[in-house]
């Protein structure tokens, strides 16, 4: 069952990602990105990481992408004023280099060798929550501070007059 679903969702994710980087209009990109994010969330479910799947949808689809779309709407660049994109020079080279990177990571992925650990429930809300509030409590708290800083920073940057 897993391989079939992996191929389906993996293909959706990759296809969505390709569409994201190729669409001219950012709103299309954003919608395709949402698609990719859902596919990734599904992949998380396949790996029994239910908590992360839920968080993926809540955080990414529910918050980050809403923010993106919100900004796209707010800026609302007219179609004819979108940047003229041509794949020349450094940009082309960059894409080639990115292709190399994919190639390299593929070779690296084939070398992956690690004995499977316990089949314990590692991705459930309980397991992640327990780890988060014991071993990684400090990291969690720091993350909250990071978010607070980001909130303040975003307000300070985007507000016309504070």
């Amino acid at each position: 069952m897993e391989p079939i679903l992996f191929i389906i969702f993996g293909a959706i994710a990759v296809g969505g990602a390709i569409m994201v980087v190729t669409r001219k209009h950012p709103m299309s990109s954003a919608l395709y990105l949402i698609l990719t994010l859902f596919a990734v969330a599904a992949l998380f479910v396949l790996r029994q990481a239910h908590f992360l799947a839920a968080i993926q949808v809540i955080v990414y689809a529910g918050a980050v992408m809403v923010l993106f779309i919100f900004v796209i709407m707010l800026i609302n660049v007219p179609e004819n004023k979108l940047p003229m994109e041509r794949l020349t020079g450094l940009r082309l080279l960059g894409v080639v280099a990115a292709g190399f990177l994919i190639l390299e990571s593929a070779i690296l992925a084939r070398r992956f060798a690690m004995p499977a650990g316990s089949t314990a429930d590692a991705g459930s809300v309980q397991a992640v929550g327990r780890a988060l509030f014991t071993d990684y409590l400090l990291a969690f708290e720091i993350t909250s501070v990071l978010l607070l800083a980001a909130v303040i920073g975003a307000i300070a940057l985007a507000k016309r007059k504070i």
């Binding site: 209009h25 709103m27 299309s28 919608l31 949402i34 239910h50 908590f51 799947a53 839920a54 968080i55 949808v57 809540i58 689809a61 529910g62 918050a63 809403v66 779309i69 919100f70 796209i72 709407m73 707010l74 609302n76 459930s124 809300v125």
Partner: protein, 367 residues
């Protein structure tokens, strides 16, 4: 390979639930109009008839549906065609999806197999609720933006801002419930509400989390863009808000989405705060009142009572929407935002804090 029986059960479950929700949506459109008329001391819809039977105007929803279906389905010239057409679907899908985790009744045993009366008993339960309800905003936003028109854009911006704001309080207000019942599966939460508080009161969410209930109800109304928070479609200022440019079936999808939202919202309130399918003092074997008095009820009767209890509660909260709509005036937009960020958010945080404190005291003092 999934056994045929399980497949059948699954399909049946989905079918039954859809039927329930959509049926209720149809009823709701009628209830809303009738309720409005009742409150305004007029008769309301009473003309549509089949073979001379008006049935208190209950044919009006049918007439509406037909009308929507057969109207011209046009797309404005400057609209982004794809997004314009996608928007209603984005609005409808999350509303329906939410229903998947709401339990209608206790698990029943048929032919030796236990069947839960719930489409999917996800182990992330409430998180799923958040995740899906958070998606509802896309429909509104996309609709507002892709119409490429002033009022829809303003409506879309307003609604997305409002929904994002209230989603925070919505999520935080349920945290108290999670903490009290120590569970995130909705079925477990419902089971937890079957116990008694101090031996007399049913341990419903509303009794252990009164502030959480008020906050959740408010946030839910805002989230569903219902009065008094229906700013995105405030007729007096934005014509019809984000769906100004929509007509015919696409418009009806928005309408449906809204009503499904209401229905599912009512079901969720019933589940989280009013014991879901739990009937007061009704145990598996029959009634067991606090005074020691007990009445034996057959298993089928218990099941019927419980499902009926859930449906009854859901219907009540559906009615509450209508009730509120014609009772409370609309907020001004800045008031809505201020309420969301400066009242709801601190209160829900306070609620979590107090809940945690009380739980800790109970844990320590054992009372």
């Amino acid at each position: 390979m999934i056994p045929l029986f399980d497949l059948g059960v699954a399909v049946a479950r989905v079918a039954v639930f859809f039927a329930f929700v959509f049926g209720l949506v149809v009823v709701m459109t009628w209830v809303e109009r009738k309720g409005a008329a009742y409150m305004q001391d007029r008769r309301g819809p009473n003309r549509a008839r089949i073979l001379g039977i008006t049935l208190f105007g209950m044919f009006h929803p049918l007439a509406d549906a037909l009308k929507f279906l057969f109207k011209e389905d046009f797309i404005p010239d400057n609209a982004h065609r794809l997004f314009y057409q996608l928007a209603p679907m984005f609005a409808l899908a999350p509303a329906i999806l939410t229903m998947a985790v709401v339990p209608f009744g206790p698990p029943v045993t048929i032919a030796g197999k236990t069947i839960s009366l719930q489409i999917a008993d996800l182990n992330v339960g409430i998180l799923y609720l958040f995740a899906v309800s958070g998606l509802a905003v896309y429909g509104v936003v996309l609709a507002g933006w892709s119409s490429n028109s002033k009022y829809p854009l303003l409506g879309g911006l307003r609604s997305s801002a409002q929904m994002i704001s209230y989603e925070v309080s919505l999520g935080l207000s349920i945290m108290g419930i999670l903490m009290v019942f120590q569970a995130i599966r909705l079925s477990e939460i419902v089971l937890g509400q079957g116990e008694l508080l101090f031996g007399i009161l049913p341990k419903w969410g509303v009794f252990v989390q009164p502030l959480g209930f008020v906050l959740f109800l408010t946030a839910l109304y805002a989230e569903a863009n219902r009065t008094p928070f229906d700013l995105p479609e405030g007729e007096s200022e934005l014509v019809a808000g984000y769906h100004t440019e929509y007509a015919s079936f696409k418009f009806s999808m928005f309408m449906m989405a809204e009503y499904i939202h209401m229905v599912v919202g009512a079901a969720v309130i019933a589940t989280l705060f009013f014991g879901g399918w739990q009937f007061p003092y009704l145990a598996d074997k029959g009634f067991a009142f606090p005074g020691g008095l007990s009445v034996t009820v057959p298993a089928a009767g218990v099941l019927v009572l419980r499902i009926g209890s859930f449906i009854g509660k859901t219907l009540f909260f559906c009615w509450l929407y209508v009730w509120v709509r014609w009772t409370i005036p609309r907020f001004r937009y800045d008031q809505v935002m201020r309420l969301g960020w400066k009242v709801m958010l601190p209160l829900s945080l306070l609620n979590i804090f107090v809940t945690g404190l009380v739980l800790l005291l109970i844990d320590k003092g054992g009372f």
